[in-house]
């Protein structure tokens, strides 16, 4: 076991000058428009202050003004890498409020498209994380494979990135003939590429030297900062809403919740967080395969969609497992066809808050890697 490269300097003895550097808001490795104000001592980071609001698109204001079905496209644009997963909790909240029974086939379609989108999200996450460490090949490999996932989702919904596919009580359209074969093809492709990436990137010595023992997030800190998703599981905490609080039909599938075990480095470092994503891709493949088998052939997908959505007065909190963590919607209704308030609990925003805590004492170049391993989307941070 190598020692952790965390530098703890005694400033009173060293008498060195500290410098404040501005990273962003337009910087290729900040994964969006995040601005970091970094205080460095030589090359060692002593303080990080994230500044937000460069992509504040007034999400909650729009929710006050729009009717319930009109809000779905705006929810797509929150976490735009995994739009399918975003729509799900919102639609689920309305279904619970309206007491709408969702057909069996719809539930399976939802599981499949959500898991396909989870694959696409993790592919981008691992690819850009590799780019941060200086590896360009995984980016090209993963984006080649991602296209085939995007094509399936495009044939289903008509859009490549922002789908607007979920409806209250159903879906916008039924699956197309040949959907199952396409999905199985994608699963095969993802598995093959993942094997390659394991050799090329994950177990590459340079990559291990850069990422192992860097940005260590202990389980206590992770829980105190309310982290979720791969960031929390990378620290060895087994928490997955699909398993712990099963929604939809997730209780019927056989899958594991991968956690960081510290094969390389210590539990909770950048390498382990990234490894959790790699393992989760395999689990998503398993879920897709099982769901395709269990999905009923017959079923009305678009028929159950109510014409007018007017839930009774009340409030509701629904949370689901987004690829980035726990996504919750707090919905307050006032009896009209527009919500009183819709508050989103975005996993990216909560996970980002841990950055100042875990990047202190590492090299400046490591800060970029730590940011990449958290996997944030600024559309969801600023909303």
């Amino acid at each position: 076991m190598t020692e952790i490269k965390r530098y703890d300097l005694e400033y009173s003895q060293l008498d060195s000058d500290r410098m404040r550097i501005n990273v962003g808001p337009q910087h290729p490795s900040t994964h969006g428009v995040l601005r970091l104000e970094v205080e460095v001592d030589g090359e060692i980071v002593t303080e990080v202050v994230p500044h937000l609001g460069y992509l504040h698109r007034s999400f909650e204001k729009h929710c006050e003004k729009m009717t319930f079905p009109q809000i779905i496209p705006y929810i797509d644009r929150m976490d735009y890498i995994s739009a399918m997963n975003n729509e799900w909790p919102y639609v689920m909240a309305l279904e619970k409020m309206l007491d709408v029974k969702v057909p069996e086939k719809v539930e399976f379609i939802r599981v499949i498209v959500a898991e396909l989108n989870r694959l696409a999200n993790h592919q981008i996450a691992v690819a850009t994380f590799g780019m941060d460490a200086g590896a360009f090949t995984p980016f090209l490999y993963y984006f080649r494979d991602r296209e085939s996932i995007i094509w399936i989702l495009e044939r289903l919904s008509g859009a490549r990135l922002l789908y607007n596919y979920f409806r209250v009580g159903g879906m916008a359209a039924d699956i197309y003939p040949g959907f199952k074969e396409d999905c199985l093809e994608v699963v095969k492709k993802v598995r093959k590429t993942n094997e390659e990436i394991m050799d090329l990137l994950i177990h590459n010595n340079i990559f291990i030297k850069r990422t192992a023992n860097v940005g260590v997030l202990t389980p206590e800190v992770a829980i105190n900062f309310a982290c979720s998703g791969p960031v929390l599981r990378g620290s060895g905490v087994k928490f997955d809403l699909r398993k712990d609080e099963p929604y939809s039909v997730y209780d019927r599938f056989d899958f594991d919740v991968p956690v960081g075990v510290g094969e390389v480095g210590v539990v909770g470092d950048c390498w382990n967080r990234n490894m959790v994503r790699m393992k989760e891709m395999e689990q998503s493949c398993r879920i897709i395969e099982q769901a395709l088998e269990m999905m009923p052939e017959e079923g009305d997908v678009t028929g159950g969609v109510p014409r007018r959505i007017k839930p009774p007065k009340g409030e509701m909190y629904i949370r689901t497992e987004n690829p980035k963590g726990e996504l919750g919607f707090y919905l307050v209704t006032n009896g009209t066809d527009k919500p009183e308030r819709l508050k989103a609990r975005g996993p990216s925003f909560v996970n980002l808050s841990v950055i100042p805590e875990i990047s202190k004492g590492y090299m400046f170049a490591d800060l970029i890697l730590i940011l990449g391993s958290i996997d944030i989307v600024l559309g969801e941070v600023d909303r």
Binding site: G32, L55, S58, H62, Y80, L161
Partner: protein, 171 residues
């Protein structure tokens, strides 16, 4: 139309191409545009796909630059908020002439879905910097990026360098 097309029928068998120096310069400029990628929101993800193996944006001779001083054109991909508008203006002014702007996506063209109630969204990047090519879509498909890039190349090819008055039509 282009300079290279004339190579197909050599001038009196001598392999000579007759043309204006402007055409040569424009040919060079339009085929090696370096860009400052201003990735802001969802469109930037589609632009990443555009840059990757399947669509390969670099076949247009474009190379991403991180510094505005080395860039020929700026690609504004995504929602421009008031807080960000200031930065775009600064970076645009830092670029060397001749410079071009491609506005990508509905948000950057006109405010898009945030047009009506987006109190923090700039209703179109052309309110602060002059835009040469607009690419519509929310987000645009990678094919639309290609079309937009070709439109910019067309524009550069037609441009007069030495006699600017001719271009403006004041002569």
């Amino acid at each position: 139309m282009g300079l290279l097309n004339r190579l197909d029928d050599p001038y009196e068998g001598g392999g000579i191409v007759l043309g204006k120096i402007e055409e040569l310069l424009n040919w060079g400029r339009s085929k090696s545009d370096w860009y400052l990628h201003f990735g802001l929101a969802c469109c930037a993800i589609e632009f990443m796909a555009m840059n990757a193996s399947h669509f390969d944006f670099m076949r247009f001779g474009t190379i991403p630059r991180t510094s505005p001083r080395q860039a020929d054109f700026i690609m504004v991909t995504g929602t421009v908020t008031f807080k960000m508008a200031e930065r775009i203006k600064i970076l645009y002014e830092q670029m060397a002439e001749p410079k071009y702007v491609i506005s990508v996506g509905s948000c950057s063209n006109s405010g898009g879905p945030y047009w009506e109630h987006g109190y923090h969204v700039l209703k179109g990047v052309d309110r602060i910097i002059p835009v040469d090519v607009y690419i519509p879509g929310c987000p645009p498909r990678p094919e639309a990026f290609e079309e937009g890039m070709m439109k910019l190349q067309e524009k550069i090819n037609k441009q007069a360098i030495f006699n600017k008055r001719k271009l403006l039509g004041t002569e």
